[in-house]
Symmetry: C2
Subunit: 520 residues, 2 copies
């Protein structure tokens, strides 16, 4: 830790990551370099980017989840069938929410990529980043303009303008970073191909603004085409990467044309994604979603004193009883979001490195989580026992199911590359592995169970749903016990099976480890 | 870093802090202890509390700033004088906002205190903490009930019930922590007075719920008294600590009756406050405040297609021009909040340890920051050149002034105990010290200047304000240059003074260091 005394701020949070990447033979080299650069430039000019990124993550996560509010604030008529209102919702507002979430997370991924290359910042970069953030926070508005007025070009022009300016600012940041090499990632800083890296990164970044420029030009002539171009901008790198992967799998033979192995700005599913930032972004989304309903309650559910006087004979309790279902909705959605956060938290405790594919599933999971408050609010908006209520309950179950399922998908993806992405003690076969699987599958299972139960006992959909709300937190508390009981049961079954058949299945070798762990 | 291989999760983020606190002679002891405990309990049961706390900070910061929304959504009549509307606002909504902010930050401080004692968590603690958070997020609602219906006891009963349950959960957490000592702070873990610590902490925590129990009993009999009791609950520890401090200063002689020096659960202004958590909480508040206006814009400022058709002859641009001032308000408030965050970020780069007093000033600064979007929105709500507009601009200036001033106060407090709280190179006299001071004083000075300028040129208040909005970001970009010019000017002045008077002032010794630094 000797060098930390000299450049404490710079290396405050990067230690650990650097420690891993830095090859032993380069250690003394980088040590000297960092010393000389920090002496050259003074302490205050170079800073760890940790807090700047945390703040950016907070901003982006708020913006990504904001667009659920217009959906949630749509008022339903009790007489109207939910199906119709859901259909009208689906057409614009839910679409805007999902597209905003997607586009903002794409911008966020670009931001991660950028600041994996530039690992240290100074005041100029901090200010440039704030300007970039301002434009990203403005994106949802341009998108809702596009959705509300699909035949006007103003929305798409505004969107393109924002994206172009964001791209230019990112280019500025890259140019600034490469002109002050001590700000860069250690790997690039020590590489002999800095010029190549710079060119490659600029090329990738500039691709988007240039496409947007074309889109905005086309929008004047024939604006339907510009939507196509925008879709290409977002999906092209993934499609081309998919095609490349398929080609490699079928024909074989990896063609590597870069002088260094390019770790950044590839679109491969195994491209590293800063684990810390995935956590920070998810925390932000979970926190906003958990509190979305209390925002509404604080603003809308305090009755007017005059109303209390006239309608409720001065009885505040009676006036508040009218809002009863909404409090229940709040506590229900808070508990569900909180527990989904808890599962996410447990999952990432075991993860050592996040990849782009895991990030993608995380985004999908979060997008469903964002819909939860809306679903819970719907559940309590319709008269008891009505068909609407049943459908609202079922929609809630579907949303919870998919939110949990994509968390499970993250875990499965991590297991596929477990040597790189997981701690050794949770790899397939360990006790912690079983326990984690139980945590991850609890919500999907419960949601699925509730869904089918409400199909059969459609009359009692609301009571069943409330029972689930109350039961799940206790299930999580007792999960360790439940897993032990289940494993003991499994062992008992296997033991009796062994006695009968006298043949040991191959999988049991893996299973025996946790069982003995648990029982001893 | 040898022990990290064995217990990577547990010590993931606590390393650095522990490294400082842990006395060298105890090192091997704690190493053995952590080894044995992690082997005894398995890996997954014990976790670093880092992310749990980050999530809690995010939740609490959202809840603290939420109550500005009802204030911001109050509609003003253009004909009505601003003074009157401001007065009616001040009476309830602003009071609710400020009191909520205060109470939530008190709950947050209690949460910090608790998790400075319990440094590692397991699943049970994580779930208990989520339950505790749920009740904290419900506090603002009970408070707005109290403010709207001061003569009903329901609000105060609900508030007391929440606080009592929070207290009980915190007690549970403490009891759980002391029954699993490897979860505790290292200092307490190794202390021989664990029982004393436990008793002291429980006593401090239980004080609040017991007072609330009394308050709720009194509220049935004579409810005005219960408000007094609640005020005592919040302020008593600070008042008693103040009195103790004054007594010690006047009479002298510190009476220390605890067997160990109690680092936690004292209410001294120098009590340590986790720097990481102060940053996370502030980030959350700044991020929410920066995006508050875009929330409104996304929801309220997308015109209805039918309105565009009827009123604006299908011209979307014309329809959006109506919202022009609100976009300006958004960008203005975003830039101001972003730059105040930037100053805060720069300040905390230099801080090594945060104290309770710094936390208090931080809270005050953040409370003013929370009012910014409201002030900016007001600025653009009134007709050009009206008296209302002038007053709105002046209120904005006052809010910016105080937000910046309390940041400056934090810096001054840190300077008073600079040996403990600041990095060596920013202590009084360094170049970075001067530069930091310039950053901190920029916003108060500009706000004060704008305020007086609008007093003189009251007609041009809005243009002056917009000039300020545009100018300040560039001032921050050029600040390093400006400081150098100012120091060079100062040096020139001092040199000529020295030639004249031939006597060197004492302060100059300190000043010369930065000047030579800058010029060479």
């Amino acid at each position: 830790m000797g060098e930390n005394d000299e450049s404490e701020i710079i290396e405050h949070h990067d230690d650990e990551e650097m420690e891993k990447r830095r090859k032993p033979r380069n250690h003394s080299n980088s040590f000297l370099e960092s010393l000389s650069s920090s002496e050259k430039e003074g302490h205050s000019s170079t800073q760890s980017s940790h807090r700047l990124l945390a703040y950016s993550d907070a901003l982006i996560s708020i913006i990504a989840t904001v667009m659920i509010l217009p959906v949630a604030h749509t008022k339903f008529q009790d007489t109207e069938e939910l199906k119709q209102s859901i259909q009208s919702l689906l057409t614009t507002k839910v679409a805007v929410y999902l597209m905003t979430f997607l586009i903002v997370t794409v911008a966020w991924a670009a931001h991660i990529r950028l600041f994996q290359v530039i690992e240290r910042i100074d005041d100029t970069l901090a200010l440039l980043n704030l300007a970039c953030m301002m434009l990203i926070t403005f994106l949802p508005y341009t998108f809702s303009l596009m959705a509300m007025f699909p035949n006007y070009i103003l929305g798409i022009l505004l969107f393109c303008a924002c994206v172009m300016v964001i791209g230019l600012i990112q280019c500025l940041i890259v140019l600034y970073g490469f002109s002050h090499p001590f700000l860069l990632n250690d790997q690039i800083q020590m590489s002999e191909n800095q010029a190549y890296y710079k060119q490659h990164i600029l090329k990738v970044i500039m691709r988007v603004p240039i496409m947007c420029l074309f889109a905005s030009i086309f929008s004047v002539i024939f604006f339907q085409l510009s939507y196509v171009i925008l879709a290409i901008v977002i999906f092209l790198p993934y499609i081309s990467e998919c095609l490349k992967w398929i080609r490699n799998k079928t024909i074989g033979g990896q063609v590597e044309d870069s002088p260094d192995s390019m770790l950044f700005y590839t679109y491969q599913p195994s491209e590293p994604l800063s684990k810390e930032r995935v956590e920070a972004f998810s925390d932000g989304v979970y926190a906003i979603v958990a509190t979305l309903l209390i925002l509404d309650i604080c603003e809308g559910n305090v009755p007017d004193p005059s109303v209390v006087k006239k309608q409720f004979n001065n009885s505040l309790t009676a006036a508040l009883q009218e809002y009863g279902p909404e409090y229940l909705a709040y506590f229900g959605s808070y508990a569900t979001v909180g527990l989904l956060w808890f599962v996410h938290h447990s999952l990432f405790l075991h993860v050592t490195k996040a990849t782009r594919l895991m990030g993608l599933f995380n985004t999908f999971s979060l997008a469903f989580v964002g819909g939860l408050p809306l679903a819970y609010q719907l559940t309590h908006e319709f008269p008891r026992g009505s068909r609407n209520e049943l459908e609202a309950v079922q929609i809630s179950c579907v949303i919870i199911f998919f939110a949990g399922l994509f968390q499970l998908a993250m875990w499965v993806v991590a297991l596929f590359t477990e040597r790189e992405t997981l701690h050794p003690y949770v790899r397939y076969g360990g006790r912690d592995h079983t326990f984690m699987l139980a945590k991850l599958s609890l919500y999907p299972c419960v949601a699925l169970g509730t869904f089918f139960l409400t199909c059969i006992l459609s009359r009692f959909s609301a009571p069943i749903f409330h029972m689930m709300e109350i039961g799940v937190p206790f299930a999580f508390l007792l999960l360790r016990l439940l897993v032990r009981v289940a494993l003991a049961l499994l062992r008992w079954l296997f033991c009796s099976a062994r006695n009968d058949l006298d043949s040991v299945p191959v999988e049991e070798e893996d299973l025996r480890l946790p069982i003995t762990d648990v029982l001893t």
